[in-house]
Symmetry: C2
Subunit: 191 residues, 2 copies
Amino acid sequence: MHIEKEFHSLKAKKLIARNPLAKEAYDEIKEAISAMTRAINNAAKKSNGVSLLKEPFYQALETKGWSREKPLEILSVKGGPIDVFKSFSNSFNVGIEVETGNAASSHRSLNKLLLGICNGELDLAILMMPIHQLSVYLTDRVSNYEEISPYLRLVEQDPFIVIGFDVEEYSSDVPCLPKGTDGNSKRSVKV
Amino acid sequence: MHIEKEFHSLKAKKLIARNPLAKEAYDEIKEAISAMTRAINNAAKKSNGVSLLKEPFYQALETKGWSREKPLEILSVKGGPIDVFKSFSNSFNVGIEVETGNAASSHRSLNKLLLGICNGELDLAILMMPIHQLSVYLTDRVSNYEEISPYLRLVEQDPFIVIGFDVEEYSSDVPCLPKGTDGNSKRSVKV
């Protein structure tokens, strides 16, 4: 997998250009994306699950000291955690949401990251999702980069990156990724 | 029905205090809320539909010149309309989303209204939903005011109002509101 489309706010651009910790975070994310499957079965629409799609990404980040399911203090009373988190040098906090729920769910992920920034818990936030072309072959109604694009101006004043990922190859010869029971249903209980 | 809980951003407070058109809009909304059912059947959880709950509100606003399903220019390529809209004196534009989808859907409604403000298409935005106590007796997983509350700081810089409505009476003697087929399912196709 690789980054096919992306949005960097002005603040995110400046951070990556000037702050070595931000650059390190972005490089680790790019590398972890390359650990995800390089080919997807395109014999039929909606035929690949999303849980196993994300797993190699999470595992690659864990080897670099990232941790999963980070609760935000501001959502401590009610609200799900952020998917992946790392505090660089105990001073620069980065949060990632890997969105494989539906379009509405991607708005919740975006707002959760924004809330983390507002509350000083995140210094850089990354929202990741498949591009539309890839989403067609994933679980039904999975959100895609193009769908959230009109809303990017809501994050343009914040240190925010949105990434649309894609595979290197579409092929009917590779096996489908199995569908778990924890894809959309797991997301839908988050608030 | 009446307003049980509400949030007014500083900008919204100032508008209602100083701009007669904003005051008129808010008064019309309050009056339309009072046209909604005053009692709900509480014999069983999740037993009342939401479509008919909203209908008297919409109809009351229509008699005051509001219109339903207003598309935003900024979402013209892709994206659903705003639930209710009125341009006061062709100069002060107010948009309302009446949220009866799930929690994720309420984030999309909030972001849609914010986008309308960002793009200069709305001068005042109102997000309405049941309070938690009422939502318990409505369609499963309907979002509620308390659930979105931690996110209110995302709208505090904008002319934004969030309203949590409630009935006057909970009773096992009143008929249940019938469930349509266009509640959550209708919302879920909006982007």
